[in-house]
């Protein structure tokens, strides 16, 4: 970490004055901190960062950062972020949200954002629940987790976001735990600097509707394997791990998607000529 003499931005400079609406103890506070620390580590000018989200407790995060932000509609954060990054390659684009936003209503965009491999970082604060709507199962919720909407449990097996990301072509895949802000910060720095689409699943407990997740801090452990560049190997590992392997699981080298080339090679006059008959 290089140290500039003056005007070095601190993590707190990346936080806005808005007070989070989150419940005390919510894992998302730590995610906020980790993002701020990662941005500070990279010393990115606050106004050159755009944080885009959908809807959910976690998706409130842009307003708590002192960057540009867009709190879009439920499930559409990735295409919104795609528009931003394709149009403005000079910005650092971070897309953030929850497991409901990203894997349920937004699942299709995840598939295609991974394929498209645009140079951005997608952070999913996974609490295996819809927090904002007060406790319904999300795609990562266990089959037998009882709730009002699905008495006795949703009855369907949770899916593997990281495998989906790998199968769809994400260029960087990691799993973090919000309770370890330093480790998470490091992974985020890595994700932001890695070219192409970086996907970081952050296990981030919902203390209100999933008090059982307080146990996560005991369950997480560093991945027993090193980062691979073989997506099929990484996928197989993730499909068979316990869901608590923490670390950068895959780093690929696919070139990132093209962005606007602002050079004009054909003027309106040229276009008009096409029509002359």
């Amino acid at each position: 970490m290089s140290e500039a003499i003056s005007q070095r931005l601190k993590a707190s400079d990346y936080k806005s004055a808005n007070k989070p609406v989150w419940c005390p103890g919510c894992g998302d506070f730590h995610v906020l901190l980790s993002i701020a620390k990662a941005l500070a580590h990279l010393q990115l000018p606050t106004e050159k960062v755009a944080v885009i989200s959908g809807i959910g407790c976690s998706s409130r995060i842009p307003a708590y950062l002192n960057t540009y932000g867009f709190h879009g509609v439920h499930g559409r954060a990735l295409p919104l972020a795609t528009g931003v990054k394709v149009a403005r390659s000079d910005l650092t684009v971070i897309c953030a949200g929850g497991d409901g936003d990203g894997f349920s209503i937004g699942g299709n965009h995840l598939l295609h954002a991974c394929r498209r491999n645009i140079d951005m970082t997608y952070i999913v604060m996974d609490n295996e629940i819809y927090g904002m709507t007060k406790g319904q199962p999300s795609p990562t919720t266990a089959a037998d987790w009882d709730s009002k909407l699905t008495p006795g449990g949703p009855g369907i097996s949770p899916f593997h976001p990281l495998v989906i990301a790998l199968a769809s072509g994400a260029n960087f895949v990691a799993r973090a735990f919000s309770g370890d802000p330093n480790g998470t910060t490091e992974m985020l720095v890595d994700a932001i600097t890695h070219p192409g689409f970086s996907f970081v699943q952050i296990l981030s407990p919902c203390v209100t509707f999933r008090p059982d997740q307080k146990n996560w801090k005991k369950q997480v452990h560093p991945a027993p394997v090193t980062t691979t560049a073989d997506a099929s190997q990484a996928a197989r590992r993730v499909m068979t791990d316990d869901g608590f392997n923490i670390g950068v699981l895959y780093k690929g080298s696919r070139p990132a998607y093209r962005q606007i080339v602002t050079t004009v090679t054909r003027t309106n006059r040229d276009l008009e000529k096409e029509f002359v008959t």
């Binding site: 806005s16 808005n18 000018p45 606050t46 106004e47 050159k48 755009a50 944080v51 885009i52 409130r60 842009p62 307003a63 002192n66 960057t67 540009y68 932000g69 867009f70 709190h71 879009g72 509609v73 499930g75 559409r76 990735l78 295409p79 919104l80 972020a81 795609t82 528009g83 931003v84 394709v86 149009a87 403005r88 000079d90 910005l91 299709n108 965009h109 598939l111 295609h112 093209r258 962005q259 606007i260 080339v261 602002t262 050079t263 004009v264 090679t265 054909r266 003027t267 309106n268 040229d270 276009l271 008009e272 029509f275 002359v276 008959t277």
Partner: protein, 577 residues
Amino acid sequence: MSLSAHEMSSFSVALIGKGGSGVITAGEILLAAVGKAGGYGLMTRAVGPQIRGGEAAALLRLASHPVHCLDDDFDVLLGIDWLHAERFCAEIPLTTESLIISDSAGDPIPAEISASGARTVTLPLAELANSIEGGRANMVAAGLLAEFAGIPETALSAAIKEKLADRGASVIAASESCAALGRATARNNGVNFAPLHTSKDETRWMISGNQAAGLGAIRGGVRFAAAYPITPATELLEWLAPRLHDAGGTLVQAEDELASINMAIGASWSGIPALTATSGPGFSLMTESIGLAVSAEVPVVIVNVMRGGPSTGIPTKSEQSDLNIALYGLHGDAPHLVLAPNSIADCAFTTQWAVHLAEATQAPAIVLSDQFLGQANSITAPLADAGLFAARKISSEPTAGFNRYALTEDGISPMPLPGTSCGQYTADGLEHSTNASPSSSVADHLQQSDKRAHKLDAFEYGKPWADIEGNGELAVITWGSTTGAVREALGRLQDSGKNIKLISIRLLLPTLPQQFESALHGVTRLLVIEQNHSGQLHRFLRASYDLPATVETMHRSGPLLFRPQEIVERIQAWSAA
């Protein structure tokens, strides 16, 4: 065949043939040729249910003056063959004055078609074609029809060379020979049509509404488009793809319309004027996020090239039935802009204007084109650039305490683009206070609701809000593509001494009570004409404006488009009543 003064200046011809017979190519060559000759024209096509290679028809109107709709009936229907041709009956009205040309060696004319009572003539089209190595009957037909229309040989030959450029010299030569045989046959056949009066020296464009909309978008400053293919909007997107790139922008193919509208909003929010185009089903999927653009105050243009509805409906046919959803289809109170081009050429102006308005007001603008406008090819005078450009109220040097959603006099708040220091804020679909933080307070909701409505109501739109022509106590109101037939009908009525006022509304939303009132000044009776089943414009006008006591309506669902004469007749009956 003697034609009236009016009809003499326009010549309508339909070419029918099964897949591979080349009728569409022949039609396109004829259309280009009339343009090269300094005339005008338009062409639509009709196809059978087969995905590809089924029967097809090229419906052309060639004219000495600009034309914006097909004529009442066809002067000539030429069938290269007649397989399933009866399917097109409803779309190819014939009279006893019409001429049906068929191949001497071919099948008989289907009963449904000959039932029109049109005169018929058989010609050895195939035989003539076969006399030339590599010759094809569609080219014989092209020559024949060009001769009937009075299109000079040079024009036809240039059109053939252009259209078949990539097929090589021998194909071109054979085609020209076929055309010459066709011409000769026409001259020697006793059938005469008055030639079109054209002025060779004027430049003409050949352009479809979808292309014109694309051109308008680029002229207006659009540099980002997001696309999900859908008939009949696909060609607009396909036209834009390479051209946006060359203009210093880009087009991204999205996974669906939920994504395409959000990509466009994201690009626009970051500072690049953006557009997407779709049709009814895709438009439905976009409404939630168009509401986001309303709330977050992000400019964006959505072109809906309407087709037959509801649901999947009739993808390949035209209808004006998405007016309701465009006006009212966003949840909550969501003020936005709705515009409609009223001719193929106007697709360029209206789209350009829509970009300008969306950018100026930081609101989504919906442009309602339709399958007819979008996919018809037309010959027009060159379309001038309206000179309107995206001009957003940018906050380039925000200072401390800057409020993104500040209450300004005109309701438009300066917007900082990402990258601007001190301008950081979070755009939001949640209701917010002036400083962009989420708020459910009564006062904030009321203020922001007022602001969003006011900025559109208070904007100075100027004359283009409607095309208003003529005078009198009787007026016809219409919109979009139906304007073409209405305008022509009113022209004919005027020729016969009857003055009826035309009001073709280009800016449908916001409503403009003052402008509307003055447009209606002196009007005592109103006829509303539109192409949908439930009379959507009529209801919208009743809802929004004070109308004269007597209002009648003429509306029907597609896919059969209005023809001038039925409008003439309706107006005659109406005005006599």
